[in-house]
């Protein structure tokens, strides 16, 4: 029962912050609302007894990605801080609302009306915590349920992203003087 109350509180926070995030005119407020959504999703992971996942969500998403967004907003546009120069396009908003409503109705209908879930749903689900040594052993094992191959792939992928980001941001050969002139 306590879990249910916590779930309802977190769900209200998530939905209100998400709606505010996509409808506000100021982009800095959108980033702040995104931060609240990320924290509340981490709270849902804690409710589901995935403590490691909640910690990863807080440290990577709320700590890292939101900081990157704020840096990018500060770097990109001074006018966005005073308010985005975007007006509500009537036709596009109606179209987006129709797409969202139809998609949501379809997804919820499919998820709620199938008979598969009622068969496999287990009663004693919310009880067992995945402990840290199991997580570490599974991530580094090459057995049947091991994840050493995706683990190595994601390290390569992060290296490729670092190199790609540096290459994208360093397109000019004679570099620094032009950049300084442009930023002035």
């Amino acid at each position: 029962m306590a879990r249910l109350i916590m779930f309802i509180i977190l769900a209200v926070v998530i939905l209100a912050s998400a709606v505010f995030c996509v409808t506000t005119k100021r982009i800095m407020r959108a980033a702040t609302a995104l931060l609240f959504v990320l924290f509340a999703v981490a709270g849902l992971y804690f409710i589901l007894d995935y403590s490691f996942l909640g910690a990863a969500q807080i440290s990577i998403y709320a700590g890292g990605i939101t900081m990157m967004y704020i840096f990018a907003i500060q770097l990109v546009d001074k006018n966005t801080l005073q308010g985005m120069r975007e007006h509500w396009l009537g036709k596009k908003t109606i179209l987006a609302g129709a797409i969202s409503l139809v998609g949501f109705a379809t997804v919820v209908l499919v998820l709620l009306k199938n008979a598969f879930i009622q068969k496999v749903v287990s009663a004693d689900a919310l009880s067992n915590e995945v402990n840290m040594s199991d997580i570490g052993r599974t991530l580094m094992s090459a057995d049947k349920y091991g994840y050493v191959l995706p683990f190595e792939f994601i390290s390569l992928f992060l290296l490729a992203c670092i190199i790609g980001g540096l290459v994208i941001l360093n397109t000019k050969k004679d570099g620094n003087n032009n950049d300084k002139e442009e930023t002035k």
Partner: protein
Amino acid sequence: MIQIEYFFILSGLLFFIGVFGFVTRRNLIAMLISIELVLNSVDLNFAAFNRLLFPDGSEGMFFTLFSIGISAAETAVALAIIINVYRHFHSDQVNSIENMKW
């Protein structure tokens, strides 16, 4: 006891709020923020499926873990591209990028 249907409805709503923002926004960073909402709803669904339907395994948890890492890398590269676009066009609206080559 939380029913699994509550998680379905919550993550479905979060997903389509993100889709709504992605379609309506004209600012590149705001579109990227909407994509983050979509990614979070999918991660939440992975974790809820794993915990409430198959509590013996932990596949959904590892999928969510890898998904968090990959979305962090994706955000970094996308923000680098957006900053580069702003350097070239001095605008961060989607309409400013009409040609692939300048």
